[in-house]
Symmetry: C2
Subunit: 138 residues, 2 copies
């Protein structure tokens, strides 16, 4: 995995610092979206809270991770699947929020048809958020 991590950072023109490697490792190991607090906690006394904020910003800017809409005043970040990156990322995207374990998953393989909008509204992209119970919690 270390090799993969370095590759991803290089490909995105991000310098290979310890903090970035650690944060990226967390995203690769998790199959669900992360919030700042989880990352901060996981890397407690390894990298600083502020560095986590800045690392997330730089990952976001590169498109390495993306934001997932939430209703709970948190920001959820999900690793952007490198394969779908140029295909679906800017288009329709499906996320699943498990109301039991509170985890959010990207459903990269699920698609949905575009929806017709009222006059005057012009769409850029659509994202679907499905709430329910996930595979682990069923």
């Amino acid at each position: 995995m270390e090799f993969q991590i370095d590759q991803i950072l290089k490909k995105n023109k991000l310098s290979l610092t310890e903090g970035r490697k650690k944060v990226l490792e967390l995203f690769l190991k998790a199959d669900y979206a992360l919030v700042h607090a989880e990352i901060e906690k996981a890397l407690y006394n390894i990298i600083d809270r502020v560095t986590v904020y800045r690392t997330l910003q730089s990952f976001l800017k590169k498109g390495l991770i993306h934001l997932i809409p939430t209703t709970d005043n948190s920001i959820k970040y999900a690793f952007t699947n490198q394969d779908v990156r140029h295909q679906q990322f800017q288009e329709n995207h499906v996320h699943f929020f498990c109301s039991n374990c509170n985890k959010t998953f990207c459903l990269d393989n699920v698609t949905f048809p575009p929806i017709k909008l009222p006059d005057g509204f012009k769409e850029q992209f659509q994202e679907l958020i499905i709430t329910g119970t996930c595979d682990n919690c069923k």
Copy 2:
């Protein structure tokens, strides 16, 4: 409108206090979702910041307003259309986020077909967030 405000509060078993009337009035006048900061600002030196927090909580609990997922670490509250309340509220719901004016609208009349999920995932409800430019900003 005053009559309407009182009616809505009564119907929802909420006492008719000045603060609640003012907050509800804002929701009725706006055709888009509000965030705490907007409400606080609009009612500056009329009702306290803390009361706004508590009023939003009580409206939420009654279903008078509902949450809209956002990616920007804010909580957006939209007035729940009384007509669709028992029909669509717990089911599929469509919101439109205008990337120009940053306002979010409920599209009560737009519907979409349910999406098939991978095995193990069980859905409760789905909500679609469409980003683009709204009627006012076109």
